[in-house]
């Protein structure tokens, strides 16, 4: 029975992968026609990497870092500096000239991404030593501060010849094809999933559940917190590098605190402690940002100018959304559950009964306890 279920799931997964590959091949072939959709999907995939890395820390280790934008900035600038073709550098740095130290530094994008991750991880290690050893409460504020400083330093005139100051960096080579554009984020997420399901992932969860008990199990608090923070920052840095490759031109304003908040919204909306949730969340939020663009434009219905609709309204909606999720829907979309084919099957099968239940509940306003049934459902799933 059990083996049967496993191989069935493998089959489903393979089929799903195949569908995705065919879809990507289709988009690749028609990339000109679907460029807008592709760019949304690519951005979502990159945000998913950063969101999962934030979740690794927040949802699985119980630490709270708000340095995503800063670590992404480090990653993005590293990748940009290392991959802009040497020939076009003169035109990129035409205002201030390029520092001789980096003028001829060049490497392939995959190596640049790894270096980007390592640099971000190294900075995280430095921040982590004082903060995580003593009061992880302050991690949020320390990382938020560092993130702002990194942005300020990047824009600082003293570094003009490296970061090109407020002009930003342009002419970053993009992804060679869609398979790489989606394959790399997928690889990053896969690595993080493997980590979370490994012995180390269990150690992180133990830390989240109870620090004192985790120590009594032989886990060194500082070492494991630092490890989680470094790994999370590594992938955040890689995510920043991917963003640079995706955007092809970056400047320090890209990495403002709002970027961190976007990622936070994704994680909270998807469910703190759910990788699947973070991935779904990043696609929803990124696509949502595009769909909700109309909030920023004046809306005229039949000659009547609807009030409120003007520049900035969309961000207000976004922040209210974040607040609503935190206050009323704390578990987010997925809670701390992960995707499984059984879960999906259960969800689909439960739709008719849910609709029925809803109409019943409306007929009986006193309400029928919904829990026993849904608990039965989950039991069935466990046995399968």
């Amino acid at each position: 029975m059990k083996k049967n279920a496993v191989s069935k799931n493998k089959l489903y997964t393979l089929a799903a992968l195949l569908v995705i590959i065919v879809l990507l091949a289709f988009l690749q072939a028609n990339s000109a026609q679907y460029s807008y959709q592709i760019s949304i999907l690519e951005r979502s995939a990159i945000y998913a990497v950063v969101a999962v890395s934030m979740n690794l820390l927040t949802g699985f280790t119980g630490l709270f870092s708000l340095g995503q934008a800063g670590f992404m900035a480090i990653g993005a600038y590293t990748v940009a500096i290392l991959t802009i073709p040497v020939d076009s550098r003169a035109s990129v740095y035409y205002v201030n000239g390029i520092s001789p130290a980096i003028a001829n530094l060049h490497c392939p994008y995959w190596l640049a991404l790894i270096i980007a991750g390592i640099l971000a991880a190294a900075l995280a290690a430095l921040i982590g030593i004082p903060v995580l050893r003593l009061k992880s409460d302050y991690l949020a504020i320390a990382t938020l501060g560092f993130s702002e400083i990194i942005r300020a330093v990047i824009a600082a005139p003293q570094l003009d010849r490296i970061t090109n100051g407020s002009y930003g960096l342009k002419s970053i080579p993009g992804f060679p094809n869609l398979f790489i554009a989606f394959g790399l984020p997928a690889l990053c997420i896969l690595l993080m999933v493997l980590l979370i399901n490994s012995s180390y992932g269990r150690a992180f969860k133990a830390l989240r559940e109870d620090e004192v008990a985790a120590q009594a199990m032989g886990l060194n608090l500082f070492r494991y917190k630092e490890l989680a923070f470094i790994i999370s920052s590594f992938f955040t840095g890689v995510g920043g590098g991917l963003l640079a490759i995706f955007m092809r031109s970056i400047d320090s304003k890209t990495f403002s605190i709002n970027l961190t908040y976007d990622i936070l919204l994704i994680v909270v909306l998807g469910g703190i402690g759910s990788i699947t949730g973070s991935v779904i969340g990043s696609f929803l939020v990124t696509a949502g940002r595009e769909w909700l663009r109309f909030f920023d434009n004046p809306l005229v219905i039949g000659g009547f100018v609807v009030p409120l609709f003007r520049s900035g309204f969309r961000m207000v909606i976004f922040s209210i959304l974040l607040m609503m999720v935190v206050l009323f829907y704390r578990r987010g979309i997925m809670g701390s559950n992960e995707f499984s084919w059984e879960g999906l099957g259960r969800l689909i099968r439960s739709i008719p009964s849910r609709i029925k239940r809803k109409s019943k509940a409306q007929k009986h306003p006193a309400g029928i306890p919904l829990c026993p049934e849904s608990m039965d459902d989950s039991k069935k799933g466990d046995n399968a």
Partner: protein, 288 residues
């Protein structure tokens, strides 16, 4: 109770342990020994400093003054420094001794395991994972080999050992339950199982019978003896249930207001005037 071998091997030696919080001396010059294979109880009225003494052994607190030896090796030793020099209130006058500090995880690795007065399980994780986590520290792996699944053998060994342990503890049928969903008694059992999974030589139990009825307490008495024998443990426990303490202990230490007021076999303690005055005078039931 026949385990006191010819020449007892010292497992735990606490020398002049003093723990001061602000102006309160929670443990005051405590000196005691636990020998291999023994079951030793630490008793005393509420607030006597028993749990604090445990926390000093397991590295959760750094004692203000004193020394802790485990299997002949000094694992903790401290002497008042800085401002504490002036405000020190302990009975034993401090002398300069080398400062050795160990974090709780290091102490666990050396072979001391403990349970907690108010159960501390990894609440949202399954019974199986709770025990499996204890196996992590002794596994030969690193974060890369674990992530890339190059540690298959180790992982399988850890899982097999966990399964075996749960089987021995009659918890295997519950392995997929979430820890907090277990009834109270089973949570205590799970906590002990988890402590055993760290492969200890020395087990500290902080009120293992708290909240148990007489029958459960009786079962626990047999259980503690049984694990002592089958895992070759030395047991040091804090307990309020006098029946259990008197039945099971080879020796008893009595603490009151942070100070040791008596020490001896259960018979000695039962007849000790000071103990009766400080502790047994209070009816057993009133304790809970």
């Amino acid at each position: 109770m026949s385990n006191i071998a010819k020449t007892p091997i010292n497992v735990l030696h606490m020398q002049d342990i003093t723990m001061q919080f602000g102006g309160v001396v929670a443990v005051n010059g405590l000196t005691l020994d636990v020998n291999q294979g023994e079951i030793v109880a630490l008793i005393g009225p509420n607030g006597a400093g028993k749990t604090t003494a445990f926390n000093c052994v397991t590295g959760i607190y750094e004692p203000t003054f004193g020394q802790v030896d485990f299997m002949g090796e000094t694992i903790l030793s401290n002497t008042p420094k800085g401002k504490m020099k002036k405000t020190y209130l302990g009975e034993v006058s401090p002398r300069p001794i080398p400062i050795i500090s160990s974090t709780p995880d290091v102490i666990t690795k050396k072979g001391i395991a403990r349970t907690f007065q108010n159960i501390r399980l990894f609440g949202q994780l399954t019974v199986f994972d709770n025990v499996l986590i204890a196996k992590h520290m002794r596994a030969k792996q690193n974060v890369f080999s674990a992530t890339l699944r190059l540690n298959r053998k180790e992982e399988e060994r850890m899982r097999a050992e966990t399964t075996a342990l749960l089987e021995e503890q009659n918890l295997l049928h519950l392995k997929d339950e979430i820890a907090t969903s277990l009834p109270y008694g089973l949570q205590r059992r799970l906590e002990i199982a988890r402590a055993l999974a760290t492969e200890p030589k020395f087990l500290l139990l902080d009120e293992p019978a708290a909240g148990m009825n007489p029958q459960e307490t009786q079962e626990l008495t047999d259980f503690i003896k049984q694990i002592r024998d089958s895992y070759h443990l030395t047991v040091f426990m804090i307990e309020h249930h006098m029946d259990l303490v008197m039945q099971i202990s080879d020796r008893i230490y009595v603490l009151d207001f942070g100070k040791l007021i008596a020490h001896g076999t259960p018979e000695d303690i039962q007849n000790n005037e000071r103990v009766i005055e400080a502790y047994l005078g209070v009816s057993d039931d009133a304790e809970d």
